[in-house]
């Protein structure tokens, strides 16, 4: 007897995008459930520290300015229709979040205050000290509790299922607590499962960020887009790669090299430390590569900000630096270096979160929606601005939720046989049944992460990427040989690690394919063998379709330009 569940809309992932999507669909009166591999408040949205951007017109800001700076930040690869939506709808969403209970920082007059963030001339980043993501995540979960939306906590999705017409019609998953599989039938699935940071080692991302959603969608036939655009955050801690928020620089911190120079003067004379992330990361990496670093790092200097600013506005990183780097920001500069942080690319969606094109310009997967880091609308293009990711989750989570509710309303029940979960169940059984001295998933993951961080990082070139490509193929070939000592069904984290590694290898395959294909330098994708941006040839997106051969099928889509023609990008 197979257990099964049925909803109009099923949301995968309970971070900010997932919960916002679920709440919105719920408000529209359709039946909704969330499925997540961790409890909602454990989601990685927690890690967003600095804030959320919005141009509030009653504060003298203009959404057009925010949109333009996002377009420029994206190195003109972002789709301008989507960016316009993002910037225009941001203000109302900030107010909605405030009404839900987010304790945004206030000015003296009791209204919401802002701070500056990178790549933007105006202070339009709303924030809660330096734990904005956490403060928002917990509030959205409060709303989920109030709305009594069912949450399947600690369930692991293994594949999307389709009906006879090839529409996405739900998913196969097992409960981590007991290993039991179930079929989730849904007229629409919203993928909101976050990023893929663990493809790299080190990364700022949590251990759960394993690209599950991207791989599930990719395997089911939806295209991934612009996967070569991997953001390295300029300020991460050595060792495990924990994030040190851009808000530190937003509040006025300096970046120094071993000679004590504010080196950003040479790379971005106007915006200095607050140039866009790709620019700052390249600068910091160049300083390190050219011998002006200190043990592989440069320095983030907060001392002149003073005790009060550090304690009140940067309290979390103050604590973090003390705990994890043994540095008191009030007293000494902190060694930091660029580290993998965010995937700009993801499952291709339109501005309503749909992973298919009603007009048929590109082939997608009906019934599948996506939002947040796992999706690629594309808002962030070649480089995401700080504090635009939280905004992305809130605006496009809402739009996906809204559109999915509309989509399912007149859709008859889809037919999926119970047998849809059989092959996944067999796969897990086979994993458990394998005995002997096979390789461990953790060891393979480390190889993958190290390779990616070496060859597909801040600076890239063809030979290195070909090595990475070969290595990933090799790892894919070794994947079926993984063995797990734990033969139990309760919280078998070995099984999960193996399945996640499979997802990550697929993601890595697309990152490398995209990066090898794009023979230019744009945004975070900087090729030392193709130094310039080539708008004539490359002002287009790369769509990657799963083939199962290890080499994706590639198609292109033109970038949507509304009002901002590509210009030289100077900060």
């Amino acid at each position: 007897m197979i257990s099964s569940h049925s909803y109009d809309v099923l949301v995968i992932g309970a971070g900010l995008a997932g919960m916002r999507a679920a709440l919105t669909a719920h408000e529209q009166g359709v039946s909704v459930a969330i499925l997540t591999k961790v409890h909602p408040v454990r989601s990685h949205s927690n890690a967003a520290q600095g804030g959320i951007n919005a141009a509030l017109t009653d504060r003298g800001d203009k959404w057009e300015d925010h949109a333009f700076e996002t377009v420029k930040g994206s190195d003109y690869l972002g789709d301008q229709d989507a960016i316009e939506v993002l910037a225009r709808e941001a203000g109302q969403d900030i107010i909605t979040l405030e009404h839900m209970g987010v304790i945004f920082n206030r000015q003296d007059d009791g209204r919401l205050g802002t701070r500056r963030f990178g790549g933007q001339k105006k202070a339009r980043t709303f924030f809660v000290s330096d734990f904005t993501g956490q403060a928002m995540l917990h509030v959205l979960y409060e709303q989920i509790m109030q709305a009594k939306i069912p949450v399947f906590e600690e369930w692991f999705a293994t594949s999307l299922v389709k009906d006879d017409h090839g529409r996405c019609a739900g998913l196969a998953a097992f409960e981590i607590r007991n290993g039991n599989f179930a079929l989730f039938r849904a007229k629409a699935v919203i993928m909101a499962s976050g990023g893929l940071g663990r493809v790299y080692e080190p990364t700022t991302n949590a251990l759960i960020c394993t690209g599950d959603g991207m791989a599930l969608a990719y395997r089911a036939g939806a295209p991934l887009m612009d996967m070569e655009m991997v953001q390295y955050h300029p300020t991460t801690l050595k060792g495990k790669g924990l994030l040190i928020t851009e808000a530190a620089r937003g509040e006025g911190a300096y970046l120094l090299n071993s000679k004590g120079e504010r080196f950003m003067e040479h790379y971005a004379p106007n915006m200095l430390e607050l140039a866009s992330r790709d620019v700052v990361s390249r600068a910091a990496q160049t300083e390190i590569n050219e011998g002006r670093g200190i043990k592989g790092c440069v320095l983030l200097d907060c001392r002149h900000l003073g005790r009060q600013v550090i304690q009140e506005r940067l309290g979390q990183i103050h604590e973090e630096a003390k705990t994890f780097a043994n540095v008191d920001l009030i007293e000494e500069p902190l060694p930091i270096r660029p580290g993998m942080h965010y995937q700009m690319g993801g499952i291709k969606t339109d501005i309503n979160g749909r992973c298919w094109d009603p007009d048929g310009h590109w082939k997608g997967l009906h019934g599948l929606f996506a939002a947040g880091e796992t999706a690629c609308v594309s808002l962030h293009g070649g480089n995401r601005l700080g504090a635009n990711s939280l905004l992305d989750t809130i605006v496009f989570g809402r739009r996906a939720g809204c559109c999915s509710a509309e989509y399912v309303r007149n859709l008859p029940k889809l037919h999926v046989p119970d047998s849809a979960i059989a092959s996944d169940r067999r796969l897990v059984q086979a994993l458990l049944a394998r005995t002997g001295q096979g390789e461990r998933a953790a060891a393979l993951r480390l190889e993958m992460g190290t390779t990616m961080n070496r060859h597909v990082a801040v600076f890239r070139e063809q030979d290195g990427m070909n090595i990475a490509k070969q290595h990933i193929r090799d790892l894919q070939a070794r994947w079926p040989g993984i063995t797990i000592q734990d033969k139990g069904h309760v919280f078998n984290t070995g099984v999960i690690a193996a399945l996640e590694l499979g997802f990550m290898l697929d993601c890595a395959e697309t990152i490398i394919a995209g990066a090898l294909t794009r023979t230019e330098s744009r945004g975070a994708h900087f090729r030392t063998d193709y130094l310039d941006r080539e708008d004539d040839e490359w002002l287009k997106h790369i769509l990657l379709y799963h083939t199962g051969t290890g080499t994706p099928h590639i198609e292109y889509l033109p970038v949507k330009i509304t009002q901002w023609q590509p210009q030289m990008r100077v900060y």
Partner: protein
Amino acid sequence: MQTTLRVRRFNPEHDQPSSYFQDYDLEVNPADSVLDGLIKVRETIDDSLALRCSCRGAICGSCGMRINGHAALACKTKMISVASEGETIQIEPMKNMPVIKDLITDMASFWSKIRQIQPWLQPQGPPPTTEYTAPPQAMQHLNRVMSCIMCGVCVSDCTVLEVDSQFIGPAALAKAYRFVADPRDAATRQRLENLNTPGGMWDCTRCMECIQACPKGVGPMDRIMSLRTKGMAAKIPATCGSRHAEVFTDIIKHKGILDEPMLAVRTFGLKHVGRLFEMIPMVFQSILKGKVPLSGPLHKPLTSIRHIQRLFKRARKKS
């Protein structure tokens, strides 16, 4: 450095499940966290070791567990802070909740208690067209309690929960305070009344364990005390808990020293006279051990009582 992780294991799939300790010898970097050590065990020695973990940076709240007897986040606890070269670190699942497997606990009751306080903002009427205006200090004040990551560490080390599973617990009370102290919330009185019941805010014994354990500086017990103060200020119906606080203060004010029998009599009063009778066996035992303090007129005020009363006056002026 060389260390041994002594982990309390439990596998519910064994024929006769029972918990036991298993030792893992490791070579670690002293600056590594206990979580790093556990991950190393899982990835290189024994992949059946079950634990929850995610962010590695003390923000997701997954890796609460007991380390050398006290609950903490494994990711925030450095090896060197809990063991020296060659020493053993004892690692067990959190207390006051059932264990599912190894270091993984069932947090269902934790969350049901959180839901009990109706943890969402309940403002008055429809919202304004723009944001609510609110005093910046009041919102800044909420930062600390909003830093709570729901890791369960305070609940694990709560000494009241150890003997009374009905107690709502430090995490839910801190969460309740987050709303009671929010100028935008309009359900303050209702919230305080809901907490003014058995198992609620008066059941904390002020042992401070939660303050010490909390990895985020939320200070749950301090929040509980603030809730009590707010409850009394809002004149919610008196309970044994609030009367205990009032009578305690009153006795000290008049005598400078605690008159314990009087405290009990006045706290329970006629309404809860049954509770007084429940104490009779204890009174007899105390008499046998010569430990019954004097009371009423036989219990003299301190000679320095004027000094104490001056302190009271000064404290009142300050508040």
